[in-house]
């Protein structure tokens, strides 16, 4: 069934978009991430302009993270205070990101920016996750504990001032790194059209030592709010959010996410991290190859203004 998208200005196959939404939703439910880093490239691949894809995916991630956040809230697995502090940084980062996005679009380097940030971010995060997952798996093989917990170790981050007690997570921590992390996630989320959950979760676990029980729920709240904010800003400044496209993605996404979450519970944690690491790494490598190889066509056209 073909449907003409009012903002993207191209007809798409509804079932294809639904299936893409469901597939990405499945992955995001399984790993507890937004899935934007998969969705945006897929949309670009089916012919939707990168700028429209980034803007529309923001609202899709908002939907899937809201459904996730609701179920985590019921299980009391969200730290509201930690989420609030992350958000202070997150909103600033998002505003900065949308502004940068508009600027890069006018300079003609948006595609390059999106591609390079994908490469750097995804290969690094994916590589680290994969490596960590592999080591955990090898340790488990040898009969040792799968995860090494070092509750006593305090890095330089824990020596920073402006400390605050986050009750639900049972941690006592400086506000500065939390705000900075929120800012970074908000920024890359708005520029790259990703929720940033897959970066936020490891940062919270390894850098801030937030307990795993509250990490995913809290990260989903941050994703939700930054993505709602990003949707608003993209709609106001760039007028590029395609609501019809977003709705199809959302319906596919939230459905897929439910099945993904069930599948995820059947897989062991180390395997899950290893798989996610591989997935993130693969997407990063794909972008790297695209940048390094000689493009099929050296020329591109971009419309800059309507002259009536």
């Amino acid at each position: 069934m073909q449907l003409y998208l009012p903002i993207a200005d191209i007809p798409v196959n509804v079932f294809l978009i639904l299936a893409m939404g469901a597939a990405v939703g499945f992955v995001s439910g399984m790993f507890g991430i937004g899935g934007g880093f998969l969705m945006t490239p897929l949309l670009i691949f089916v012919g939707i302009a990168p700028a429209v894809a980034v803007a529309s995916v923001a609202s899709h991630i908002a939907a899937s993270s809201f459904s996730g956040a609701l179920s985590y809230w019921r299980r009391r697995a969200i730290d509201p205070l930690l989420a609030a502090v992350l958000l202070t940084g997150g909103t600033m980062g998002t505003a900065l990101g949308v502004w940068t996005f508009t600027l890069l679009r006018s300079l003609g380097q948006l595609d390059l920016m999106i591609a390079t940030s994908y490469v750097i971010l995804l290969t690094t995060v994916g590589g680290l996750m994969f490596w960590e997952g592999l080591r955990a798996l090898l340790r488990a093989r040898k009969g040792g504990p799968a995860t090494v917990r070092r509750p006593g170790s305090h890095g330089w981050i824990h020596g920073l001032p402006l400390k605050m007690r986050f009750k639900r997570s049972k941690i006592y921590l400086s506000v500065i790194p939390v705000v900075v992390i929120g800012l970074v996630i908000g920024f890359i989320g708005a520029v790259m059209g990703i929720g940033g959950g897959f970066i936020l979760v490891p940062l919270l676990i390894y850098l801030l030592r937030v307990p795993t029980s509250t990490v995913i729920g809290t990260s989903m709240v941050l994703t939700l709010v930054t993505m709602v904010f990003a949707t608003m800003l993209h709609a106001i400044t760039n007028h590029l959010v395609d609501a019809v496209l977003a709705l199809i993605l959302m319906i596919g996404g939230v459905t897929g996410a439910q099945f993904g979450a069930r599948a995820g519970q059947k897989i062991r944690g180390e395997h899950l991290r290893l798989l996610l690491g591989l997935l993130v790494l693969a997407v990063g490598v794909r972008f790297a190859v695209e940048l390094v190889l000689r493009p099929e066509d050296l020329f591109t056209i971009r419309q800059t203004g309507v002259a009536g």
């Binding site: 903002i7 191209i10 609202s59 809201f66 709602v228 056209i301 203004g305 009536g308």
Partner: protein, 259 residues
């Protein structure tokens, strides 16, 4: 001196008189649909242009005609960028701005343009993709460059790949010596707006008559509503989209709730 001016005057009058029999032909054309509406199930359209050559008593008999049809879509500014290898990766370096060029451009004729008219006439009448004026801004100057300029040819080639620029020299068919038709394919990617159709009639390499018609592609109903809201009320549009996202998420958590 005055004799020379007089002679020029006579020459001019002679030219007018010589040209007037050529005005004997008149073109009458119409497109099958003057208003193409974009609805949710729109997936491109094909229009038909048909017309006839009207003659009068002064028209020489058995004259064979040639037709060139130019369809130009709404105009826009566009940038063509060239990638180059820098620091091991391919990035956009050089670029050229094309000013107010048609977003859609189609040229149809009944036989190759080279046999219809001389290169001089082709250039003056802008026949064919090589002769259509595509204004570029080259560091402050406004000009159309030679047809084999790399940016211009890349621009035309890319537009052709997307079906947005096309040149078909056998698309116009004469049903009778004076009755003709051609189809105008409009792929779904074709932009919304007003399209001008210019029809030029030639015989023996000279322009005999020309006429214009137009059609428009418009979004209607839901498509139009969404597009104009997004453009004019960004804030409200954003709010609605965000609310829609929250509703979908909330419904999913209700539908799939397991406790």
């Amino acid at each position: 001196m005055s004799a020379r001016i007089l002679m020029l005057g006579w020459l001019a009058l002679g030219a007018v008189l010589a040209a007037s029999p050529a005005q004997a032909e008149k073109l009458i054309v119409s497109v099958s649909n003057h208003r193409v509406t974009v609805t949710p199930n729109y997936s491109g359209e094909e229009l038909v242009l048909f017309g006839s050559v009207e003659k009068d008593a002064s028209t020489p008999a058995n004259r064979t005609y040639d037709l060139v049809v130019t369809v130009a879509g709404p105009r826009a500014d566009m940038v063509t960028r060239r990638k180059e290898r820098k620091f091991g990766i391919w990035i956009n370096t050089d670029s050229r701005q094309f000013l107010k060029v048609p977003t859609y451009l189609a040229l149809f004729s009944n036989r190759p343009i080279d046999v219809i008219a001389s290169p001089e006439v082709q250039r003056r009448q802008q026949l064919g993709l090589n002769n259509v004026l595509l204004t570029q801004r080259v560091s402050g100057d406004y000009a159309d460059v030679v047809p084999d300029d790399v940016f211009r040819s890349a621009f035309v080639r890319l537009r052709k790949q997307h079906g947005l620029y096309r040149e078909e020299t056998s698309a116009v068919t004469f049903l009778t010596p004076t009755l003709f038709r051609t189809s105008i394919p409009l792929p779904a990617e074709v932009p919304i707006g007003l399209y001008n159709v210019e029809i030029k009639l030639f015989a023996d390499g000279a322009l005999l008559a020309k006429t214009d018609t137009a059609f428009e592609i418009v979004k209607v109903g839901f498509e139009q509503f969404v597009a104009t809201t997004a453009q004019q009320n960004g804030f409200v549009y954003g709010l609605i989209t965000a609310a829609m996202a929250l509703m979908t998420g909330w419904m999913a958590s209700i539908v799939f709730r397991r406790d």
